[in-house]
Amino acid sequence: MNTIDLSQTSVRELNQRLHGLAPDTNERLWRILNPKGQHALVAGLNVPIEVQIDGHVGYYCAGMNKEAKVVINGHCGVGVAENIMSGEVRVKGNASQAAGASGHGGLVVIEGDASARCGISMKGVDIVVGGSVGHMSGFMAQTGHLVVCGDAGQSLGDSIYEAILYVQGKVESLGADCIEKEMTPEHIERLAGLLARAGIKADPHRFRRYGSARKLYNFHVDHADSY
């Protein structure tokens, strides 16, 4: 286990060191102390290592993550795991805006609450939130899954494409072209799988599914006021 104290080492040094690891490195476990809200921590990882960060982090923690597993023992700032490609990023506390923004793959777990625009522009990532999400979550979500065990704020799934949203609690309002859909057995199973991967206990039968009405796929003047 390598322990790095960010009050002694700079973020840049840490990141460069992690980027320099070979895919078959035996330095697989890392612990980071004193993040104190700094930005771009462990961004751009691309080897299957495990990183644990003790404290609160700033913006873009684990941005563009590939293959690595990152655990943040605290809260995180804007854009955690933005554009994640694969691997897993877990936030024990709460997440600020744009969590998992434009993520392409992998798993993002927010055990607390996520803020506005959770899963914005998502492109294949699976995001599981133990708490609630803020407004405009799932905005322009293209593919992937967003699971919310708590409530969702206004305009959920506005302009959504093919991503699938599962929400257990209340949805304050739905965004343009986002509608409630049937929770088929197939979806119940899929959701159960996501919750299991996230390690979050919840009953999939209590969730509702939301997705695209697909009315905005090709412009028609009668839907003009959805734009």
């Binding site: 809200g37 609160h56 700033g58 913006y59 804007v78 805006q97 506005a116 803020g134």
Partner: protein, 302 residues
Amino acid sequence: MCGIVGLFLKNPELRPQLGAHLKTMLIGMTERGPDSAGIAVYHRPVQPTQCKLTAFHRDTGYPWREVAGQLGEALGAEVDVERKGNHAVITVDAAEADARAWIARHHPEVRVMGYGQLMEVYKDMGLPAEVACKYALDGMEGSHAIGHTRMATESAVTTEHSHPFTAAPDMCLVHNGSLSNHNNLRKWLRRRGLEFETDNDSEVAARYFAYRMGEGASLAEALEAGLRDLDGFYTFTMGTRDGFAVLRDGIACKPAVLAETDDWVAMASEFRSLANLPGVEKANIWEPKPAVVYTWSLQEAA
């Protein structure tokens, strides 16, 4: 664009350290605002018949003593002056409106940055650490303070264009974001008799809120009205005699983080400004919701 910070002490025992904590918070926002910085500190209340003005002049050799003496004579009032960097804190046994009017008339080269009975406002060009040092922020005590670091967007980089902006006694505003209808709003307020010192959008917001409160709205009501009338992106933190308020616009793209313990409530644009506050590891940390008015007041805390 900018960084904003605010600190409100619930526990009076922490008051001697107010300035030291605010300084750390302010420096945490340097990258967001390298051009200039400003702070408003609420402390050293004056007597009920007195008022306190924080005045600024570009020239550090400005004859503050003389000018303050003239002010006192003109108003037939006792006057006290304390110089700090490019600013001077003038305490006078008279109504603030009269004191300000006299200064505006006889010494238009002086800019009054803040006025009231508690609030002192210091703003200057330079990095936050430099400004904090110049005004000895480190040693300031008080109940609450707000601060701002500036990256100038559409108006000039000058001291006058820096935040906080004052529009009423013991009231000031800092802003992170960019309004889009402030020019029309400025004209609307001018027609109602308000005067402006800069072309800055944040000054428009400050005077708008002061206008609403002057018309009888409570602080919360004024901020609610702002949600309707102000267009654009904003996180506002407003300092008042009793405490502070935070408001984000409905889209809420500009950041804001709040942290609270039994001893204090703090606000910043990024968490890293809060990371060194005492007890932050155990603090309740959350983000203010869009279009919701948050206020803290000393009376409530008591």
